[in-house]
Amino acid sequence: MHGTSRAILSGAAMSDLQTLETQILGEIAAASDEAGLEAVRVAALGKKGSVSALLATLGKMAPDERKSAGAAINALKDRVGDALAARKSVLKGAALEARLKTETLDVTLPVRTGGLEAGRIHPISQVMDELTEIFADLGFSVAEGPDIETDDYNFTRLNFPEGHPAREMHDTFFFAPGEDGKRKLLRTHTSPVQVRTMLAQKPPIRVICPGRTYRVDSDQTHTPQFHQVEGLVIDRTANLGNLKWVLEEFCKTFFEVKNVKMRFRPSFFPFTEPSMEVDIQCRRQGGEIRFGEGEDWLEILGCGMVHPNVLRNVGVDPQEYQGFAWGMGIDRIAMLKYGMPDLRPFFEADVRWLQHYGFRPLDFPTLAGGLSG
């Protein structure tokens, strides 16, 4: 131990303090972890530590000697304290760094893709939601009806007389005749929903009728089931000019273009008179179709003023009420807008197709956000 006698205090004592300090600071610097550092601290500043022992000698000194020695020893104590704190912070940082190193993971490993990333909405459903958004804004409700229909609702009330060649334009799926001798069928269009709506509801009427329809047809471009949306407006004044406007507004909004040029051609449907087919102007480039530009015409829908016979068949007076109707293929407008080249894969549930052409679960179409975002 260092000297405790008065003899070494003034001259040699000062150099002893120096030696002690050098020794302690050396020990602090050499401490390799917090535990080692704590041992150094105890050895110097602990109750029985070397610096504490020096401080204990002060009491036996003369007052003037005590003053100068006290100052020197306390200064030593402070310097040791500072050195300890500084070393402690360094050691703590190093320890944390070492721990972090051991905790390091390969963050490039893949994670699981669950719900929102993996799920998809089928394009038909997405387009149905788009149609609902657009027409709800114009005050149209969504009317639905059964897929299995009667001949009466699918044909007769829609002014397709029994045996009329117009019926042959619809290759119809039939069921075996029932007990009443009448055979039911799978609706060939969603027009029977118009009949049901007009029978159930007094004008004014504004509905769209989306749904699944069926025809005995299967080749590259036809499937035995497909989807249609029809629209119906019945009131006291709705005319062909209004029909043009509704369809123009629809096409602009649906195809998300500023302008769309449409061509109305006279045509024939038993349930409308006058009847028209509508082409829209487009440009075909490679596999893509752009609307609102170009030189080509693409047929997209059929429409017309509701035939007076149809109105009479549902108990509406054609002199008091009038209106218009239109119909188009949901699958077809989905293909035109989103670029699927073929119809058949719509119903094949190939996960590669669904992942590619499907829509993300939260991409709900809204008018406020833009239909397709």
Binding site: G115, H122, I148, P165, E168, R212, P224, G241, F268, L362
Partner: protein, 810 residues
């Protein structure tokens, strides 16, 4: 309906170009489907003179020809045709010409060492016929250097229009011309038909043999004999037109009937009079009668068909097809010309039943012009006499000319009312008159007229039809787009029903669980239907498109399972699919429901599909299906715990790994589970497959509430505390029963109880399992003392024992 431009110009005097005519046709509703302009394809082929033809020095079958093409020096052409010879005229194609029949473009060639410039062509190479035996031989007077197509009148463009069923009049070139003239494209010049003066009485009589109620089946029948005709090929011009529209020339008499069918939409029939035995009777066929028709096929007839018969039997299926026996051929010298009216519906049903589509049926079932019945016979007689000579008899007419429809009182304002388009009465009347309508102004009232439709327009029934005629000719582009007034002032009102919102919401909810939405067929196979609870005869299609698409689906799952299997076969075995769509429990309109179903295959777990480095891959199981089902119910607003889960489900599910979802035993809304191994085997599926299905229509509606405000939130300031219990119960004891017992022990305090571990094995007796339950206690008024907590714990243990026989694990 096809016709050629020159044919049209027989009826229409016009300066309009082909493009203008086509544009107008589409604009007025006779949509041009296709225009074939053969001249464009053949414009490089010219008439050439073969000056010399010598043997090729290096090839026995080839000849070296010097050909005068009419421009410059003769060119050398190597030709392999056996008929190539000096002095002949043929068709030449210079180098650079595309040869349609060979799909090549000619280059300069050296054939077996001899230079050959251009080519002499066969008819097959020009795609004019199948004839490729030799090069085309032209008459000596064919002008060298001229366009072959032009010289041979092959430059007549063929126009095909898509005819709507309401326009039988436009099934004839004359009718098309009338529409074009009305639209301002020229002047109609169809020549009138002069009546034929018969030289003698027709020796064959006709009887219309029908009951009074059947008279409509054959209202009018005209017949004339022309004797002493010389039948043979029809003239070039007629053959060219018939060929251009895809008809095969047969002989002059038959070609005349086909020509008039297309020229005037007036189908006719000709009998070889020498083969007709006795008089003709028009009647319903008798059961068991048969006819070999002109197409060589035998048709079995019944009373639903109208026939023309003689003493021998049936000679013709009325309005559809004649019989082979009495048909006209090159030996015919006496011909009977028939022009008749038939009932459109009867013709349509006969044609449908016999499976015969002919140009005659096409027109009769749409309705031919009754006023042109007898003129049609006269027109045919003129042509027969002109092309085949002969002497005509008087015309026999059986039946009566149908009475014309009466006029319609037409307020001109109907056009504005229905279309918004304002036109002058003058313009509207002019359009109708040009289309052949008679417009009778009513005295003292200029607002309305009496309009008589022409005999060739059976489709015109009422005012709306007249409006259509006027606007289609005036031009639909003149109708101004006019905003439809908003349904209600201000912000648009909601329009969807609860079910419609749920259908759309169900799709989003299931997609958000990582599943892909499929849209599968509404039809399944009979076997699939039967396995999944369907297969009723009322839901079987009478005319399915394929055997495996024969029955309406009782469930969405068979379609999804088959889809998953197809994906697995393509190498994508871990798939999660869902569908929200219609299912059928009966054919009634209230027996169709909206179901939502999901199916997981392989390792397509809700947290992610397939193998993963951080976790061992596990196959999908009943709990994945349960999680999907409960998530869907939550998204549909069904409160957690409101639905009961009854173990066991429909027979197509694994009996020990399935459950029924219900609101009481009578109100079953769905199920979840793993598919039964027998189901997998029957449907050729590889598992594991876990699925659920819920009928959205069956879910209860949320309670109607007067405001949208949510109930007041009741929060406690006191800390909740958790206690864990390890119970030992029988292996068959249901966790739900244990939890129910635990929760029932102290309803006011127990906020939640959940199972956090289930264990069987060492330490637990055989036939038993350990179920660890965590209970969350929520004090309401004051902090619980240790004694109070112990008392609750004791009650929980006692209740669990009482209800399920549970004991605490020692």
């Amino acid at each position: 309906m096809k016709f050629t431009l020159s044919w049209l110009k027989d009826h229409l005097e016009t300066d309009a170009s082909l493009a203008e005519i086509c544009e107008a046709l589409t604009r007025i509703g006779l949509e041009v489907e296709h225009v074939h302009d053969p001249a464009a394809a053949l414009k490089n082929f010219t008439i050439a003179h073969v000056l010399e033809a010598t043997q090729h020095p290096n090839a026995d079958r080839l000849r070296v020809c010097m050909v005068d093409t009419g421009s410059g020096a003769p060119v050398q052409v190597v030709c392999g045709a056996p008929n190539a010879r000096a002095g002949m005229k043929s068709v030449f194609a210079p180098e650079g010409t595309y040869i349609p029949g060979k799909n090549i473009t000619l280059g300069k060639g050296v054939i077996r060492g001899v230079e050959s410039i251009g080519m002499l062509c066969s008819a097959a190479e020009l795609e004019l016929s199948e004839d490729h035996d030799g090069i085309i031989e032209l008459p000596a007077d064919a002008p060298v250097g001229k366009s072959y197509a032009q010289w041979a009148d092959l430059d007549d463009p063929v126009i095909e229009i898509n005819l709507t069923p309401n326009r039988p009049d436009a099934a004839g070139v004359a009718g098309v011309a009338r529409d074009l003239a009305a639209a301002g494209l020229g002047k109609l010049k169809t020549p009138p038909v002069a009546p034929v003066r018969g030289e003698f009485a027709c020796p064959v009589n006709v009887t219309l043999d029908f009951a009074a109620a059947d008279k409509h089946l054959a209202p009018l029948f005209a017949l004339r004999l022309v004797r002493g005709v010389k039948n043979g090929p029809s003239p070039e011009w007629m053959q060219r037109r018939l060929k251009a529209i895809g008809l095969r020339p047969i002989n002059a008499l038959v070609d005349i009937t086909n020509y008039i069918t297309f020229d005037r939409a007036r189908p006719l029939h000709v009998f070889d009079a020498k083969k007709v035995a006795g008089d003709l009777v028009v009647r319903r066929a008798r059961a068991g009668e048969e006819i070999v028709a002109l197409d060589g096929k035998t048709y079995a007839l019944d009373a639903g068909n109208v026939v023309i018969a003689d003493d021998r039997g049936v000679e013709s299926i009325a309005g559809v097809m004649g019989g082979e026996h009495s048909g006209c051929d090159e030996n015919t010298t006496d011909v009977l010309i028939e022009s008749a009216l038939w009932d459109p519906y009867n013709i349509a049903s006969t044609g449908r039943r016999l499976g015969v589509s002919t140009d005659a049926r096409y027109r009769f079932e749409r309705g031919v012009d009754p006023d042109f019945n007898n003129p049609g016979c006269d027109l045919a007689t003129h042509l027969v006499m002109q092309l085949c000579g002969g002497e005509p008899s008087q015309m026999i007419v059986a039946g009566k000319q149908p009475v014309a429809k009466s006029g319609m009182l037409f307020p001109w304002s109907e056009v504005k009312r229905l279309t918004g388009l304002e036109l002058t009465v003058q313009e509207m009347a002019a359009i109708l008159e040009k289309l052949g309508f008679a417009v009778e102004r009513t005295a003292g009232n200029s607002d309305r007229a009496i309009v008589h439709a022409p005999s060739w327009r059976p489709d015109i029934e009422g005012n709306a039809d007249l409006v259509e005629e006027i606007v289609r000719i005036a031009g639909l582009d003149r109708v101004q787009s006019t905003p439809l007034p908003r349904a209600s002032d201000g912000v648009a009102q909601p329009v969807l029903t609860l079910l419609q919102r749920r259908v759309s919401g169900a799709r989003r909810a299931l997609a958000a669980r990582g599943m892909l939405e499929a849209v599968t067929w509404s039809f399944v196979s009979r076997e699939q239907a039967a396995i999944f609870g369907g297969g009723a005869a009322t839901l079987a299609l009478a005319n399915p498109i394929a055997a495996d698409l024969s029955d309406m689906r009782p469930s969405l799952v068979p379609g999804l399972a088959a889809a998953a299997q197809r994906n697995a076969q393509r190498g994508y075995g871990d798939v999660a699919l869902f569908e929200v769509g219609q299912i059928f429990r009966g054919a009634g309109e209230n027996e169709q429901f909206y179901n939502a179903a999901g199916l997981r295959r392989g390792a397509a777990k809700p947290g992610g599909a397939g193998r993963f480095w951080g976790q061992r891959a596990a196959p999908v199981d009943v709990f994945d299906a349960k999680a999907d089902a409960l998530a869907l119910l939550a998204a549909m607003g069904v409160a957690a715990g409101a639905v009961q889960i009854a173990p066991g489900g429909p027979a197509f599910l694994h009996p020990g790994r399935s459950a029924t979802l219900q609101f009481g035993p009578k109100n079953i809304v769905g199920w979840f589970g793993e598919l039964h191994p027998a189901t997998l085997e029957a449907l050729d599926l590889e598992g594991p497959l876990a699925a659920f299905e819920i009928t959205l229509d069956a879910l209860p509606a949320p309670k109607a509430r007067p405001t949208r405000a949510k109930p007041k939130l009741d929060l406690s300031d006191l800390m909740p505390l958790e206690r864990d219990f390890a119970f030992v119960v029988d292996k068959t004891t249901r966790a739900a029963d244990l939890l129910k017992a635990v929760q029932g022990a102290e309803r006011a305090l127990i906020a939640d109880a959940s199972v956090f571990d289930v264990y069987e094995g060492p330490g637990v007796p055989d036939g038993k399992k350990s179920v660890a339950v965590s209970v969350r206690l929520q004090p309401r008024d004051k902090t619980l003392t240790d004694a109070e907590i112990d008392a609750v714990a004791a009650r929980i243990v006692a209740e669990a024992e009482k209800k399920t026989g549970a004991t605490l694990r020692g």
